[in-house]
Symmetry: D2
Amino acid sequence: MTVNVGVIGAGMIGADHIRRLSTVVTGARVTAVTDIDADRAAVVAAGAGARALDTGQEVIGAADVDAVLVTSWGPAHAESVLGAIAAGKPVFCEKPLATTAEDCLRIIDAETAHGRRLVQVGFMRRYDAGYRAMKEVIDSGEIGDPLMVHCVHRNPAVPERYHSEMATHDTAVHEIDTVRWLLDDEIVSAQVLTPRRTRHRFEHLQDPQIMLFETAGGARVDVEVFVNCQYGYDIQCEAVGETGTVRLPDPSGPVVRTAGRQGSAVLQDWKDRFAAAYDVEIQEWVDAVAADTAAGPSSWDGYAAAVICDANVEALHTGRIVATGLKDRPDFYA
Amino acid sequence: MTVNVGVIGAGMIGADHIRRLSTVVTGARVTAVTDIDADRAAVVAAGAGARALDTGQEVIGAADVDAVLVTSWGPAHAESVLGAIAAGKPVFCEKPLATTAEDCLRIIDAETAHGRRLVQVGFMRRYDAGYRAMKEVIDSGEIGDPLMVHCVHRNPAVPERYHSEMATHDTAVHEIDTVRWLLDDEIVSAQVLTPRRTRHRFEHLQDPQIMLFETAGGARVDVEVFVNCQYGYDIQCEAVGETGTVRLPDPSGPVVRTAGRQGSAVLQDWKDRFAAAYDVEIQEWVDAVAADTAAGPSSWDGYAAAVICDANVEALHTGRIVATGLKDRPDFYA
Amino acid sequence: MTVNVGVIGAGMIGADHIRRLSTVVTGARVTAVTDIDADRAAVVAAGAGARALDTGQEVIGAADVDAVLVTSWGPAHAESVLGAIAAGKPVFCEKPLATTAEDCLRIIDAETAHGRRLVQVGFMRRYDAGYRAMKEVIDSGEIGDPLMVHCVHRNPAVPERYHSEMATHDTAVHEIDTVRWLLDDEIVSAQVLTPRRTRHRFEHLQDPQIMLFETAGGARVDVEVFVNCQYGYDIQCEAVGETGTVRLPDPSGPVVRTAGRQGSAVLQDWKDRFAAAYDVEIQEWVDAVAADTAAGPSSWDGYAAAVICDANVEALHTGRIVATGLKDRPDFYA
Amino acid sequence: MTVNVGVIGAGMIGADHIRRLSTVVTGARVTAVTDIDADRAAVVAAGAGARALDTGQEVIGAADVDAVLVTSWGPAHAESVLGAIAAGKPVFCEKPLATTAEDCLRIIDAETAHGRRLVQVGFMRRYDAGYRAMKEVIDSGEIGDPLMVHCVHRNPAVPERYHSEMATHDTAVHEIDTVRWLLDDEIVSAQVLTPRRTRHRFEHLQDPQIMLFETAGGARVDVEVFVNCQYGYDIQCEAVGETGTVRLPDPSGPVVRTAGRQGSAVLQDWKDRFAAAYDVEIQEWVDAVAADTAAGPSSWDGYAAAVICDANVEALHTGRIVATGLKDRPDFYA
């Protein structure tokens, strides 16, 4: 069976997922595309052999759409996801699930009322081979119960529109989800340290930031976010357990020895770092849809990320330790 | 356009390529399958939604077969490849192209007479990301002109049917092709050193072997083949140029520190090591067929591998340095 | 010229320094030894061909003592150091310089009044080849101005007498000094996070701890202290600058591939990790004494460590961010 | 007890050992120095507080010389070593022990007639921490019985006076001794491959060379010698056993990430690579002399190196596999 996918939002990430569904993933095809820019929708749809439709609601309702992929801008996510749930159709929503915790809860309520999971949220790191191998080590008990996780998230540079809160919402949100998943634990408080700002970027931007999280189980997580580090895209993660440690592998490349140095290239583009993870993510989503099941990051994970990010931004602005105040997880998402 | 592929040979590697064409590669589908075991052909064909046919010739001639994939046993390769050329259909042939240099030359003659390339030979390492990055470094001139290549090919263990000549034909053949491609140079002589045999395997088997090749350009290549090394599947390659060196990256995995040791797993299965390379190889073949072009390892490369392997086996048995006696490469394959 | 050294305190570290002065360092000999355990002093002195004396004051005053090495227990340090200054003799004092900030200030006052530096404090990491190479990179400007330092200090296990404050005074004190030296910057505040305690050790002990420091220049430093990590002695340090990063090298050992794993040993004993640094430290002290100069960690560094440690312990007990309240550094120590 | 050392040969290496004996090693002092350049001997002797003597024979015979260190040029070694044996004094001789196998045998005969070992030959790699750790792994049985050793010896550049035979006598001689020691096995044949010469150096020089050795036990050893590799001083060694491998650790330095690259420095000077090994070597020699014993590389090792080097040079010139024709090792050197 081929899964017919309707796509809401044909921007950069939307177009990339359409390419992925058309030429990388098997078992799916894109049948309908919409975008607030109708011309763009038309071009992208044509490239994929799909129809361009005027609205997300038309996409969701189309008879030849089995499942919906939401890649519009963040504030529009909730409406599309709620629409898909109302139509009983599986929906993949790029992060964030919604831009407010309230909207996330509305989605949770709708999905719970529907009676089975329909929503997968686009936290692609859970599909990265390195993180998966790291989680296997943790789950095996080889390093004992985790007590600490040290994370680093560095980008070579960000554009001027990037502001200090995006260090949480756009950047650290990946570590927030990944750590919750790695530890199978919940984040209960947040604190943000603000080192001296790099002079290589904008005055308005607090960069770097050091984020400190505590989990319900008492583990401590630190996340360095440094989005203008100049030298490359660099993701690091080390979990420290009661009897050992495990470290996320760096991408491997050929080591060159020349002119008194030995070394290798550092990636520059995050898309290169997680390209394979995106492929696996969408393939597993399509497979789950075809199998009439659901897997991967859930609405609950989308809600948790939203609440933790809100607390973290408050921590950034106040300098205080802020409780995340997450609700209890419903059994539905256990 | 979807490329309709007919498969000749539904054994382990054939079935794997059929799965790849059906569920990994885009732009292709398997329409016809044959095998000397008709029952097996029927089962495999059914699983892929294809027809089972009685003979390779029927597959080649089928109207719904645009391109042919040959994964029968080696001695049968030449007939199928020649048949595909006669039918003017693109053909992917797993290594070896043929089991004798004479048959390889017959294929070359037929393809040349046809007037354009139709044949791609299954040397998948050229599609491995690490080797490709290594070749980019060499081609960039960063390490200067290559003078030496050091290769290691280790398997944890081989079955009893594996004999000393297979160290060349089944194992080192990959290094032979890869080094020719990395250096863009031809191998002109071979010598084989025979270390004391490991006691962990069969008396009939000379394992390990050290193979020494010289290229037309004067570079020297050494290949350690050790197929019962016990500890894992381990492929190493270092090119040494006039001003620097480049080394094939090891597969990366999470590093664990526990109980006084730090380390990571070594792969056990060659299929894990080159799984992604196989995917890329078949995708690029399908893409080339769809684009009405040809790329990748050619009949000439298949012929060269055959001739070099023959010389190497003679070197093993005689203890002498054996000239490969390769013909000059026709312009057709330049 | 041979420097005649008198040693006050013949315990484990004292005896080790006596061995070092006698058999590793050149240009020095031990002439006098004292210890509160007179028998021990006699045995150790005899082994080094030195005299055993009854008191530290006698050692300091002895005509055949050019310089004094203080390796008694911490609370006795200040008296010996002050005595040496009063006698105008160079003195090497193992950490801590004194157990209170007040005593450190008394030493600073005495040394300043004397008019030239006499005191070197035993922070041996400044003599480790890896740290020195790291400092060279930072000082070269290659990574730009440092913004963050991430440190890890792990021991396999500690004895029961080790308590939570010792994580600062005995363990993190090394990172505190090293980071001040690496950054050429001062620590102005401290905060301590307390992860869930490992169950592999004593109930009375908060282990691990995460210590957070801010420098006058706005850099942020985090130090993970985990003294019962089970797997080994592991010291890590990464400095992150405005344009790059530099990481302390791990000790190197042979990499073994066997039984599906590749890896190397992790050190178990801190003495192995910094043995060479101790040798260099004492050699450079002896050389400075012989050259009538002073170098290395000063009384000011000893004072700063004491004040920062006090603030850190208060931070541990209160959970608050505690200002270190360091005085301004006198020009004498610039 | 202090060992009084007389030094024959005050050139670069001699002066370095004199510095080492005077300021690094404990338990020794230099009392007498000679050199064919009397002025140089005078200057160096004065710097060490020693006497300058006119001849090596005077040094050997001096009452205040307990042990002799021979660092003259190679052709003069045998006479000094024989003189020391005749005087019954321990002698450390830099490599080569002698420039002909015949002279080595004369030394062996003299030492054997004397009845106990007096001679240590300066193969310093046996004292390198990395090689020692590697030998420990091999001796532990962790990798099984060794079957192959892969060695690399690269220098950034050599001066014009360096000729093709020196690749054996001055360069590979270190690998020859090291491998014999690592494997506790004897080299019985040699072959030399000659890759295309690098254009970065002199026409008269065959560089690189690949040397192939076979041991009595059937192990195979390959040594790449490339003394104008441009990029640095790089020593590699991997032993491959029946169940695993062990690799010599690279020198470790801080890893820097900047400008899209991660990497570390490659050493340029062989003296930096083995400085610590030289210190340990001379210290252990002094300790052995003081303890009236002998250890380390023996006259037999010096003889074996000479014979193997001769065979290797013949192999270079003839292109043939040359048997080393080593005599049987006397029990005296077992």
